[in-house]
């Protein structure tokens, strides 16, 4: 059964570039914010399932270092999202 998606101004769906390893694993390497700017992900420091109360949803949460900032990048089933105002 298909699920309906919700529109929430604090939930920003983003494009993500990722490196896929031969063993099937992958790592996000950069993301494209909703204004079209691309940001390189310097390091992924943590990966776990977590809910986002701010954006509304749950997914696999990648804690990423971008420059001197730490941001959360969520993989929700087949889409990536971020919380607005955290980055």
């Amino acid at each position: 059964m298909e699920e309906r998606r919700y529109c929430n101004p604090d939930k920003v769906y983003v494009s993500v570039k990722a490196l896929f390893y031969p063993d099937g694993g992958f790592k996000p390497t950069s993301l494209i914010w909703d204004d079209g700017c691309e940001y390189a992900i310097d390091k992924v420091t943590d990966i776990r399932r977590a809910a986002s109360l701010k954006a509304g949803g749950t997914g696999i949460r990648y804690t990423c270092r971008i420059g001197n900032k730490t941001v959360y990048l969520f993989l929700e089933e087949d889409r990536w999202f971020m919380e607005r105002g955290r980055g």
Binding site: M1, E2, E3, R4, Y6, N8, D10, R48, R49, A50, A51, S52, L53, K54, G56, G57, T58, E77
Partner: protein, 443 residues
């Protein structure tokens, strides 16, 4: 020949004794209940309504306009699950009414089960939002029942953004009662020492399978609490309530020993059925026939999906005054053809229903199932070739619907009424009610 040293023999004996103690010790059963499940999932996804009273309700246009779930602010205004939307709005004028998003709830139920599965493989779902877990075998690694329950609650909150209440006990019935005692986000432990003081004062109606009718019968005889049931003579309860009387007595005394079903050991399917409250009342035989065809197509498609044929058809009729009847009849040979089901349903309907009131709900069920590829007696008097062709046609229709959607192909009969023809019971009703005792009756 096996030659054991004295030390080895001692070690083996100790292992044997430990295993024996394990077998004798009480089970540790958890019952996890996701609080206000539908409403909580909606509030997680819509931060703007989190602090407002929210109710998830069925579609009033399809006459499913009742409250399915509500959050705590809505509950505080006295709104009850199951009441009509207009009643809820009268109690709470600012109520935020949302349509259900079953696809999303199914995903969250699956994610919760994944969390449970990291503690035990004995996880038995009870509806979408509840599950029993037997963690007896995990206690030596993960801590006692309370500790595992607390860990599960913390993970559900952190990972899913909703809360759960967990009951811990030595049987499924008390574990379920425990999860109802403290809400939201709490653990309640009921032990074999404490159940008399914790469970017995509760109203009889809190016990699983004490419905409104049973509660009334018991109350008329002065039995109002679970403790009253527990101290009543089971033979007398049996004379009052039949075999359920003894079952309730054993529940109240903590004697339920039904196992938590292991994942993957799905209960054997005994019947395939669909029922529907129609978008408008049915007033003629033609309306009923149309609805039976819609339902039969869904039932037949699901039987084909699971590789079954049925030997008996059962119908269920409820009129607009909510009086219901059901009837059943055998087929001459097992079938999975929607036309066979619909024709049998219609003949049962004509034989059993007298048109006094319009009809509100109809149901069709195929029971007495056999494997679709099992041998069957061919008929001398039926056109076997025609029957085989019919089976091929229905399989082709399944394929078309799978590829292009349910409404890509329809019977011409269903074009007569847009509302009735637009029902898609197979996809609209994937969430089936569950019973503690799976079909097949008492343990």
């Amino acid at each position: 020949m096996l030659d054991l040293s004295y030390e080895s023999a001692i070690i083996i004996e100790q292992m044997f004794l430990e295993n024996a103690v394990d077998v004798m010790k009480e089970r540790v059963i958890l019952h996890s209940d996701l609080n206000n499940f539908y409403a909580s999932v909606e509030c997680l996804h819509r931060p703007e309504i989190r602090d407002k009273p929210v109710a998830v309700c069925g579609d009033p246009l399809l006459r499913h306009g009742i409250v399915l779930a509500k959050n705590y602010p809505a509950k505080a205004t006295g709104i009850q699950t199951g009441e009509a939307i207009w009643q809820a709005q009268q109690k709470c004028p600012g109520l935020v009414v949302l349509p259900p998003n079953f696809g999303l709830y199914l995903r969250f139920a699956r994610l919760a089960r994944e969390i449970y599965a990291s503690y035990t493989d004995q996880v038995e779902p009870f509806g979408l939002d509840e599950a029993w877990l037997d963690v007896t075998g995990s206690c030596h690694m993960c801590g006692d029942g309370r500790e595992i329950a607390n860990r599960i609650r913390a993970r559900i909150k952190e990972e899913l953004g909703v809360t759960a209440s967990v009951g811990v006990s030595y049987n499924k019935i008390f574990a379920k009662l425990g999860s109802d005692m403290k809400k939201p986000d709490a653990t309640t432990v009921i032990t074999s020492e404490s159940f008399r003081s914790m469970v017995w004062p509760l109203p009889a109606g809190d016990l699983l399978y004490v419905g409104r009718a049973t509660k009334r019968k018991l109350a008329a005889r002065g039995i109002v609490s679970i403790g009253d049931i527990a101290v009543t003579d089971p033979a007398w309860l049996r004379s009052l309530l039949g075999k359920w009387g003894e079952v309730l007595w054993s529940f109240a005394n903590g004697l339920d020993d039904s196992p938590v079903i292991r994942m993957g050991e799905e209960s054997q399917i005994k019947s395939v059925g669909n029922s529907i409250t129609t978008p408008r009342d049915l007033e003629t035989d033609e309306d009923v026939e149309m609805t039976f065809y819609v339902l039969s197509e869904s039932v037949a498609e699901r039987m084909r999906e699971h590789g079954f044929k049925c030997r008996t058809a059962q119908i269920y009729i409820r009129d607009k005054n909510l009086c219901s009847i059901s009837a059943q009849d055998k087929f001459l040979r097992p079938t999975q053809l929607s036309s066979d089901l619909a024709e049998k349903a219609m003949s049962l309907f004509r034989a059993h229903y007298v048109w006094e009131n319009p009809i509100r709900s109809l149901g069709v069920k195929g029971t007495d199932l056999v494997a679709a590829d099992s041998c069957e007696q061919l008929s001398l008097f039926e056109d076997e070739e025609r029957r085989r062709k019919q089976e091929k046609i229905e399989a082709a229709v399944d394929g078309l619907r799978h590829r292009f959607g349910h409404f890509s192909i329809q019977r011409a009969l269903l074009l007569q009424d847009q509302k009735l023809g637009a029902i898609n019971p197979k996809e609209d009703h994937v969430i089936h009610p569950v019973a503690f005792f799976k079909e097949g009756g008492l343990p």
